[in-house]
């Protein structure tokens, strides 16, 4: 009885989820079995969209490969970087709060249009990056016309937004009991040994959490490639989300595009579940029962 007030508080969130997540979720599943161009009535085609996507559409399969490359490239880099910065910001330095805020700013700016234009500007043929390279006697790099370099540019934009992972790492680092550090110091462990034998094991739940969040995010990345490379050159940065967007809003194939998002969902789900399965092997929970 006394809990009833609580439901009232979560009601706005529930309504939001129902309208903006559950409803589109179900609708897209139904649409994925149809041909639908938004204007004319949807026409049921069974599994045709899925069959075509998985067997005939090389552009889609290529986009899945590009998405995997992007994920494998960005997630480890981003996590390592976030942990590294969090570790430094955990020291008691003067004005630490300023640095903590400063490092979070890229995450607030994110991949918005202004940043994307700035990114294009600094990587263009006589842009800032190439000018700096020239100073060191390195030739201009063709950042946007070479597939490998273009993938690197959009990955860098992602890694640059390490702020939220960093904050979570920072909070976890501060949770680690000081006694453990003292004990290892008494035992004569080096700083490096302490880091790998005390800090990292105690951080594994946080690493696991950040890993899942960033993985799911990376699979859905859209802004970077859409705004900076438009999927090019040669579709090297044409990630699945761009394929889905183009088919829905440029080619008006809503059903086809829904089917593609369901396949992407399945891919993400598979990765997530596999990671959850593996977590019992390497994630340490301090209650001692985390097997």
């Amino acid at each position: 009885m006394k809990n009833r007030g609580g439901y009232l508080y979560i009601l706005p969130w529930c309504i939001g989820v129902l309208i903006f997540t559950v409803y589109p979720f179900i609708t897209s599943l139904m649409l994925s079995f149809t041909n639908y161009d938004l204007i004319n009535p949807a026409e049921f085609v069974g599994l045709n969209n899925y069959i075509k996507l998985l067997t005939k559409d090389t552009a889609f399969l290529k986009s899945i490969v590009a998405t995997l490359q992007y994920t494998i490239l960005t997630v480890p880099m981003q996590l390592t970087f976030a942990l590294f910065i969090a570790f430094i910001l955990n020291f008691k330095i003067k004005g630490i709060n300023f640095f903590r805020s400063a490092y979070y700013i890229p995450s607030i700016l994110g991949g918005n249009a202004a940043i994307a234009i700035l990114w294009r500007f600094i990587f263009r043929s006589d842009g800032l990056v190439n000018q700096v390279l020239n100073v060191f006697g390195i030739d201009n790099v063709a950042w946007f016309s070479s597939p490998v370099a273009a993938m690197f540019v959009i990955s860098l934009l992602k890694v640059w937004q390490f702020g939220s992972s960093m904050l979570i790492f920072l909070a976890a680092l501060q949770e680690i009991p000081q006694e453990l550090y003292e004990a290892s110091e008494v035992d004569g462990a080096t700083k490096l040994r302490t880091f790998f034998s005390v800090t990292i094991p105690l951080l594994t739940p946080t690493i696991f959490f950040n890993l899942i969040m960033q993985l799911v995010n990376a699979f859905q990345e859209f802004n970077g490639p859409y705004l900076i490379t438009q999927g090019g050159p040669l579709k090297s940065t044409y990630l699945s989300s761009m394929f889905i967007y183009d088919n829905a809003f440029k080619f008006y194939k809503m059903g086809y595009s829904s089917a593609a998002s369901w396949i992407l969902f399945m891919v993400i789900l598979t990765f997530t579940l596999t990671l959850f399965k593996s977590s019992s092997k390497w994630v340490y929970y301090s209650d001692g029962k985390g097997n």
Binding site: I39, G110, G111, A113, S125, P233, S241, F265, T272
Partner: protein
């Protein structure tokens, strides 16, 4: 604690769900130019209309002023205006049409008709409203471009012609005459420093102009079949690449580095401003932005009549109706919408306020009104007049269909970057466009 893991699991599950809601950041990204605004001239009138268009600030203001002049004279009418930039406009109108919540009057692009009104019943048939809109002001053939299966779906507002423009100041500085033929361009290109090009154009459009001159036909037949053969595509791509090698057109690599993978306006591009891109090809209606950019740099823009290839069968470049006004099929009082359109397009008062915000008007009375008022001046007028002097073949709306343009872009890019042979690229373009056309019909 065990609880931690459950919470983490739930969170991850919710986040991964959002891919299906099209959520993530997808929905907020494509708003590059979305100064979306609405403005209402509500004077308590009982007839409420909604009108939507895309454009820049000067077009917004001109249209708002013209609408206001109508509601001032007709106190019973109130108009809600919904306007934004081009990029997000199509998405908005499409979803509105899908949900039957579209505005009474909509500005529509030519290639949207096959999507929005395949059989001609997607919009109100304006022929039914000829008592309210003076259709006699339009050239009969031109008006027919808005007709689908005998129903007038939209009124074409004006003509857009692909026009070559060059930065005259660059030529003055190099001491070179502005070219008239492709040979002149080749000769001029030799004088250009590395990284600078006489022309930076969208390959698809310049190749279609080349093929149009060569074959005397436009891209598509009346029943949406491809007019060009695989051999034509080989020839077109070869000609284009040859001009790139001779330094006339900018290289694909340079474009990717300094503009992007897809084609966009160069009016604000740094290399255009710096004079390294000394010319481009653009629709006549959009030329003002280029002129203004160069003028603010103290440079001068010049129009170059489209060069003719040897043995050219038609003199023309490509032209199309620039945009249409349509009326919603669900409009409660379509005749009221028609009256407003007539005020904007054919009434001297509305016409003067609309001015050149949508190019030189196709309406005869509007063109005459602006001429007499000395308002039909500037580079848009110049380009339109030039377009009138040449034969231009009618284009089918699907020539600009995104699937077809994207197919071309993709294989042309692979060819230009040396990933595909000329023959393979031409074959892929030809086969895939033919396939795409069969699903569009």
């Amino acid at each position: 604690m065990k609880k931690n893991r459950i919470v983490a699991g739930l969170l991850a599950a919710v986040v991964s769900l959002s891919v299906l809601g099209g959520c993530g950041k997808t929905s907020e990204a494509p708003v590059k130019e979305s100064e979306e605004s609405t403005q209402s001239t509500d004077n308590g009138g009982e007839i409420a209309l909604r009108m939507a268009w895309w454009g820049n600030d000067s077009r917004h203001q001109a249209t708002l002023d013209a609408i206001k002049s109508y509601t001032d004279a007709n106190p019973g009418v109130s108009v809600k205006s919904e306007y934004n930039g081009f990029a997000s406009y199509q998405e908005k109108v499409t979803t509105q049409l899908a949900g039957n919540t579209e505005p009474t009057i909509m500005q529509v692009n030519y290639d949207w008709f096959p999507i929005f009104s395949r059989t001609g019943v997607g919009f109100y048939d304006i022929y039914q409203l000829k008592d309210y809109i003076d259709l006699s002001q339009y050239d009969e053939e031109f008006l027919k471009l808005g007709e689908i299966e005998g129903k007038l779906n939209g009124i074409p507002l004006g003509k857009n012609t692909l026009t070559l423009i060059v930065n005259k100041s660059v030529y003055d500085e190099l001491g070179v005459q502005i070219p008239k033929t492709w040979d002149d361009f080749v000769a001029a290109a030799e004088k250009f420093p590395e990284g600078s090009y006489p022309l930076v154009v969208e390959p698809r459009l310049i190749i279609y102009i080349y093929l149009q001159q060569k074959t005397g036909k436009s891209l598509l037949t009346q029943d949406n079949q491809l007019n060009y053969s695989e051999v034509d595509y080989v020839d077109g791509l070869k000609w284009y690449k040859d001009m790139v090698d001779k330094g006339v057109f900018g290289t694909r690599e340079d474009y990717l580095e300094n503009v992007g993978s897809t084609y966009s306006s160069l009016a604000q591009n740094q290399k255009f401003i710096d004079g390294q891109y000394a010319g481009t090809m653009e629709w006549s209606g959009a030329l003002d932005a280029y002129k203004q950019t160069l003028e603010s740099e103290g440079q001068e823009l010049a129009i170059v009549p489209m060069p003719q290839i040897e043995g050219s069968k038609v003199s023309g470049t490509i032209s199309k109706p620039n945009m249409f006004f349509t009326i919603s099929k669900n409009a409660e009082k379509p005749e009221e919408a028609a009256k407003l359109i007539n005020h904007l397009l054919n009434d001297p008062e509305g016409v003067k306020l609309m001015a050149l915000s949508r190019g030189i008007p196709a309406s005869k009375v509007a063109a005459k009104t602006l001429e007499e008022a000395g308002m039909a001046v500037g580079i848009v007028k110049e380009a339109t007049d030039l377009g009138e002097q040449i034969v231009s073949l009618p284009q089918m709306p699907n020539y600009d269909n995104t699937i077809i343009t994207e197919t071309f872009r993709q294989y042309d890019e692979a060819f230009e970057l040396g990933q595909m042979s000329l023959e393979d690229a031409a074959k892929a373009i030809y086969t895939e466009i033919t396939d795409a056309l069969s699903t569009l019909n």
